[in-house]
């Protein structure tokens, strides 16, 4: 692996969910952002939270079908982190103490990406909530089939159904319930 990862490599790594890429992201971008937050009344834990959220904003951006990054990754992450931290400070009501980061004009317009991220996050939350409400064994059954791509035969054996048709019926019922919960949730 090359020592200097290009922005493109990292974006590819994020799209395919490569763990080494994540660790690289931390190495490359976390220190500067953490320093910015800690120097502005933040703690290490807060820095980590903010950083994670900005990486998620990035994730959301790069996993969209059409996306283009108009700046360097480091700049993007820094700008998003700064916005997020400022918001948090404002919420805490201590924005007066953070004049040194709020005084400057934004380097990048990241508001749009952050809003989109919020929107998507809501959808994902909805899905997670629906799955949680669905309960077992439906949740595992559906996950095994749709996410882990197990065969109906495997599922039949795993869950002890007498035949695959039974398993299929069960799968259908579970899916219908999940959809029903999902579309009825109002967040």
């Amino acid at each position: 692996m090359p020592i200097e990862a290009s922005d493109h490599d990292i974006i590819q790594g994020i799209v395919i969910g490569d763990n080494r890429t994540i660790s690289r992201i931390y190495k490359l971008y976390y220190p500067a952002i953490a320093r910015m937050i800690i120097n502005n009344n933040g703690t290490e834990d807060e820095a980590k939270d903010i950083f994670q959220e900005s990486v998620l904003v990035l994730y959301n951006k790069v996993t969209q079908k059409q996306f283009e990054l108009s700046s360097k990754l480091s700049t993007f992450l820094y700008a998003v982190s700064r916005r997020l931290w400022l918001k948090q400070l404002t919420r805490k009501g201590s924005v007066a103490n953070s004049s040194d980061i709020s005084d400057y004009e934004d380097i990048l317009q990241v508001e749009e990406d952050m809003d989109k991220h919020q929107e998507n996050e809501a959808k994902f939350d909805k899905m997670n909530l629906a799955l949680q409400e669905l309960g077992e064994p439906c949740k595992t059954l559906l996950k095994d089939f749709y996410i882990k791509n197990l065969s109906m035969k495997d599922i039949q054996e795993k869950f002890g159904y007498t035949n695959t048709d039974n398993a299929k019926t069960q799968k259908y019922k579970c899916l219908q319930r999940l959809k029903k919960i999902y579309f009825n949730i109002n967040i």
């Binding site: 320093r35 994730y59 994902f124 299929k168 259908y172 959809k179």
Partner: protein, 363 residues
Amino acid sequence: MSIMQRHEFIDWADQYLRGELPEDEAFAFESFCNQNPDFAELLEQHTSFLNQWKETENLNAFKKALAQESEKVEPISIKKSKIISNWNKLQINISVAAAVALISVFSSLWLTGYFSSLKKATTDYSALRREVNSVKRNVNEQNKAIQNINNKSTNDENTIHFGATGFMLTKDGYVVTNYHVVNGADSIQLQNSKGQTYKAQIIHSDREKDLAILYINDSNFKSLKSVPYTFKKSKSDLGEDIYTIGFPRDEAVYGQGYLSSNTGYAGDTIAYQISIPVNPGNSGGPVLDNQGNIIGIISGKQKGIDGAAFAIKTKELIETLNRIPADSLKGNIVLNNKNNLGNLSRTEQIKRLQEYVYIVKVY
């Protein structure tokens, strides 16, 4: 096929989406969807729901990986806490070191007399010796700038440190000036109004009274006619008209004024306060009254106060002269007691006087 149940269709669709169908059956599925818009819509809805779910799962996985990685990452806090813990550990050492440094600085300053000299330097009394070098340099630079002449300054000029005034006590070569003028001198030269220069040596110095007695120790020096002025030991009166001749420049400068107080700087009883405009270089100059009696020797002035110059009283000079050990003298100092100036006009007095007033050059 038209009476196909929804659950059957979903199952079929799942197989299709997972690519489990053989080619011909996949084709059949696609054409079925084309013919049945209701089912096509159902398929659409089904796939978008599944995609949404898959994205959610991906994101969940990504978040989990991110959180795990975040557990591993700890450079910032570690570095910072290291510094803090080092600070805590070393705080005492650092404070001790700082204290030692402070103590040694101030004690060495005290031992070297920095504070006493500081006190002297910050007083508003200013001694009136002239720093020749800087004056010369300024003049030279100005000349250069104006005339663009490459001024060949001699080495002699460059080594002069101070200039002041002195005047003769006796015709045979005793001269008085201020102690602060000759203090620390390597050599002293006296230059008279005709430009003749004589070497001089310090016979006696009185730091307390700020007086120095010099002796012209030069074979070129010929005894003058006896000094025209006398020394007035008795107290002079306030308001008395007085004047002086000194060398704030390389030319003699006359200054006149009046005796303004019987005490000197900060109530100093050995001096008068006089109101004569004086400048650096006037130090050691004679202060005469109307009759041509020396009543004092200019020594300094008070900064920031107009017309407050100080002159050491003649009485103190006499006392100093009397205290000189006999063996350090080259013959007795016999002060003149015949005044030749009394009946002369001021300008005549000055003409006669000039010959006896010297520029004191200190190297």
